[in-house]
Amino acid sequence: MAHGLRPTVLMSDLSVATRPWTCPFCPLLCDDFGVEAGADGALSLVGSACPRAGAALGRFSSPASAATPALQGQLCDLDTAITAAARLLAASRQPLFGGLGTDVAGARALYALACATGAICDAAQGQPLMQGVRALQDRGGFSTTLAELRTRADLVLCFGGLPTARHPEFLNRAGLAVDDPRLLVLAEGEGDDLFDAAARLAALIEGRAAAGAPAALAAAAQRLQAARYAVLVYETSRLGRNGALVIEMLQRVVATLNRSTRAATLALGGGDGAATVNQVFTWLSGLPLRSRLGPQGLEHEPLVFDAGRLCADGAVDLLLWVASFGTEAPPPPPNTLPRIVLGHPSLAGVAGTDADVFIPVATPGIGSDGHLFRTDGAVLMPLHPVRPETLPTVAEVLRRLSAALAVVSA
């Protein structure tokens, strides 16, 4: 889809809102458009046609949800739900905390509960998140941020295709028109083939032979070498099973370029709380997600502690699923695992019906304030509520759950 360059709108020019809104529904966390609550309470976008934000807003009922918790499909009050959840956690030998669709406050509360229960934690989009983490752990990398790109880039190479389907506001944020001469889209290879494309590009940049490299790749290499400040943009969810290796190759391209000119990468991903919870767990514990507090101390297993794999292998006996944005990937398919779901009210009909405990929670940026990390990891954006909310936040529920667990376990 084509997105033209939107002229910069200053908040002072917008009559609808005196305070900026931060859109929590994709990792760009745009704060240059707003949301309006209609007379019927329905939420609509103002100043943007972003389909991703529009669809996410459509999941909110009007007026604000009066959803109540449920115990095995039967409505109940919050205390009953929390006590039941605490009993499940106390009885679990190896719980899994999945989804992780929450903000900094939710992540802080989740870490305490993870320590108390020895839970393994993995995000709904754990695979792309950990591919980035593993590439960093193995080789490091050189990255840039949205404003740096907008200010400085004379070449923006979108590796794997234009990212606008999943990140509709990307070109606006980058200050690029869709036909901007600085924009170069490299759609060579899909999924696992992306590794070949990245490896050939790295070889071309290093001046080595890259047998069978398509002409577009060779042309891209020449443009990268000629650019003063090139940015390689990629979407983390698009890199396939070998994503960590693709990222390593792109980092090699950047490292080689940086010997003589300037270049950096910008990854698009880590939305729905994944990157935020990863940051918070990393600073609190010293280790990123896919970790747990085991008998020997903290353990970090970026491959073994994959939520889907653990569920499929029967290696965990309880799932606590957190999904407060309503945009998260769905939980692993139901099997024999007991499930506690802290989720967006719309999950009541989807994941909620077969959950042992379902607790509807407020969405940061709609019903509560909060903080999320932007895609570049450099900026922690503040979120603001747009309408009054009766539902508790994830952090509130988790704090009460921790307290109830202490009582149940005593």
Partner: protein
């Protein structure tokens, strides 16, 4: 609230005068005049009593620290598991521990405050979040300026100094900072334009601004804004042989304005001798001794594995080939700053590393006025903060120091000037360098001393000839009157407070800033500033501790 008497200890409180054996009384978290009766008494006979330690330059929170954690899972996995304690949450790491472990370890060592020196304005919320999750310790941060597009543009266009001063004041307020740090003035920005080196009087390739202009402007702005902590300077050419020239030019560029030159060890290198790398500690010390406007912290290196985490992208890129293990992270940030994370192992048998070690100690021992020298390793860049007790022993015990020197690269062991320096620092001088001086340099009036009305951040050390053991595990540590550690074990985990300053400035500058932020696609201008309520949430509900500004002086 309860009252306490710490009886019969040797009170080492440089701000109040000479060391003396006396009783110390505490009420409601404050030091008070003698009380007729108290709820609790501690026998401190044979002990040394000091104010809580204050680390004024330690990378404990924010984007690059967390990147360093992400880069080195091997460092974190290998931390010995701590024995379980109901009060502590699990946390690990040795070069860049998790925030939880950072708080526990500092407090067990008798430190009660720590300051993050390199907060990006765009990353300020993140930095405050991490510091808020560092238990017990009070904290604060210096916001980075001097590589941001706006300041360089204003200088390049010759805009009025007052506008830049107002922008500086606005930034400090918005980021809730305790001061301003400049890192490789104009150099981080220059690297974005592919400039690889920038001397003090060399022009930025695009903006045609020199580091000298940036230094003068920011130092003057802080003086006029009345910010207690003077400009915190990470100078040009960090780590480069012969960089003493840049450092002396930096001191000269400040033209008598107050400034704090940080991790000065990395900026005190000559290029004499067969290896073209030599100690310039004597030249540096002479310059510091001759310029009362200058204070320093040392940035001592300690042997072993660590990671260097710096805002200086230009220099970190240049050093990245020395990474051990062989991986590193760099980043350009928001038309404002940058960072570079390079893991490093300092080796005793490396000539360069051995000399760096000697240079740091020579600086400590050659600068005459301890009130202008602060004990740091630039954690984690020179070594982790947990090595402070070892460093204190090196400074207090010449025999031990020369034994260590003898183990190093033979050329350094044989020729270092350090070998002939006989000075041994006293307990009083250590107390100055680790609490009294940092408190004074930061403008913390009720910290760093044990006078009446001071905060009851009090440490009781068992007086032992092995100073390393003594400073590793104090007997008692009190934070605002609460016992927080005993014999190296955490006994309470109150949330620390946040120090910051709120200088006045002309709000007319905000229109200009609003336009700049929109043009560069940075966050919405109305989202930049952190209010008190939000700061409190970021910092986990800890107390807000605004420090008073002094009457700004026109210069």
């Amino acid at each position: 609230m309860s009252t306490l008497c710490i009886r019969g200890g040797l009170v080492v409180d440089p701000q109040q005068g000479a060391d003396s054996v006396r009783d110390l009384f505490v009420q409601d978290g404050r030091i008070v005049a003698p009380l007729p009766a108290v709820d609790e008494e501690i026998d401190a006979t044979g002990c040394v009593v000091m104010a809580g330690g204050i680390d004024m330059h330690t990378h404990i929170g924010g984007g690059k620290v967390n990147l360093a954690r992400l880069l080195l899972p091997e460092d974190h996995r290998n931390t010995p598991a701590r024995p379980p304690s109901a009060l502590e949450l699990a946390s690990c790491g040795s070069c860049t521990p998790g925030t939880l472990l950072t708080g526990y370890r500092y407090v067990e060592m008798g430190y009660t405050a720590a300051f993050e020196p390199a907060m990006m304005a765009a990353n300020a919320r993140h930095a405050h979040m991490e510091m808020g999750d560092t238990p017990i310790l009070d904290h604060g941060a210096y916001v980075m300026l001097g590589n941001d597009e706006l300041l360089l543009e204003m200088l390049a266009r010759g805009e009025d100094f007052e506008r830049i001063r107002d922008y500086t004041g606005w930034t400090i307020n918005a980021a809730k900072a305790m001061g301003v740090k400049v890192v490789n003035p104009a150099g981080i920005s220059a690297f974005k334009f592919n400039q690889r080196k920038l001397d003090v009087d060399e022009a930025h390739v695009h903006w045609q601004v020199t580091p000298r202009q940036v230094l003068q402007t920011l130092a003057r702005a802080l003086r006029e804004l009345g910010v207690p902590h003077p400009l915190h300077v990470h100078g040009s050419n960090l780590g480069v042989a012969g960089n003493i020239e840049s450092t002396l030019q930096t001191i000269q560029a400040l033209e008598g304005l107050p400034a704090h030159l940080t991790h000065i060890q990395f900026h005190a290198y000559g290029n004499d001798g067969p290896k073209k790398f030599s100690s310039a500690a004597l030249q540096l010390a002479e310059a510091v001794n001759a310029h009362p406007n200058i204070s320093i912290d040392v940035g001592q290196i300690m042997f072993g594995q660590t990671v260097t985490a710096s805002g200086d992208t230009m220099r970190q890129h240049a050093q990245s080939g020395f990474a051990s293990p062989r991986k590193w992270i760099g980043a350009d940030y928001e038309a404002e700053a940058g960072c570079g994370i390079v893991p490093f192992r300092y080796r005793e048998q490396s000539y360069v590393n051995a000399l760096q070690w000697a240079i740091g100690l020579e600086i400590f021992l050659l600068v005459k006025d301890p009130w202008r020298v602060v004990l740091t390793t630039d954690h984690p860049n020179g070594g982790p903060f947990t090595s402070y007790p070892h460093l204190i022993r090196l400074l207090m015990d010449r025999t031990f120091r020369n034994e260590q020197l003898a183990k190093l690269h033979p050329d350094v062991a044989a020729n270092a000037a350090l070998r002939s320096i006989t000075r041994e620092l006293s307990l009083n001088e250590i107390a100055i360098m680790t609490r009294a001086a940092p408190a004074r340099l930061l403008g913390l009036r009720d910290r760093g001393h044990l006078g009446i009305g001071g905060a009851a951040d009090v440490v009781i050390y068992r007086n032992a000839t092995d100073r390393e053991a003594m400073f590793t595990t104090p007997e008692h540590v009190f934070k605002d009157g609460t016992l927080v550690a005993r014999h190296g074990r955490i006994t309470a985990t109150p949330v620390g407070g946040t120090h910051f300053v709120e200088p006045d400035y002309d709000r007319g500058i905000e229109k200009r800033l609003r336009k700049h932020f929109a043009e560069h696609g940075q966050v919405n201008f109305d989202h930049v500033a952190i209010g008190h309520d939000e700061l409190c949430r970021c910092c986990n509900g800890g107390r807000l501790l605004p420090a008073a500004c002094f009457e700004g002086q026109a210069t």
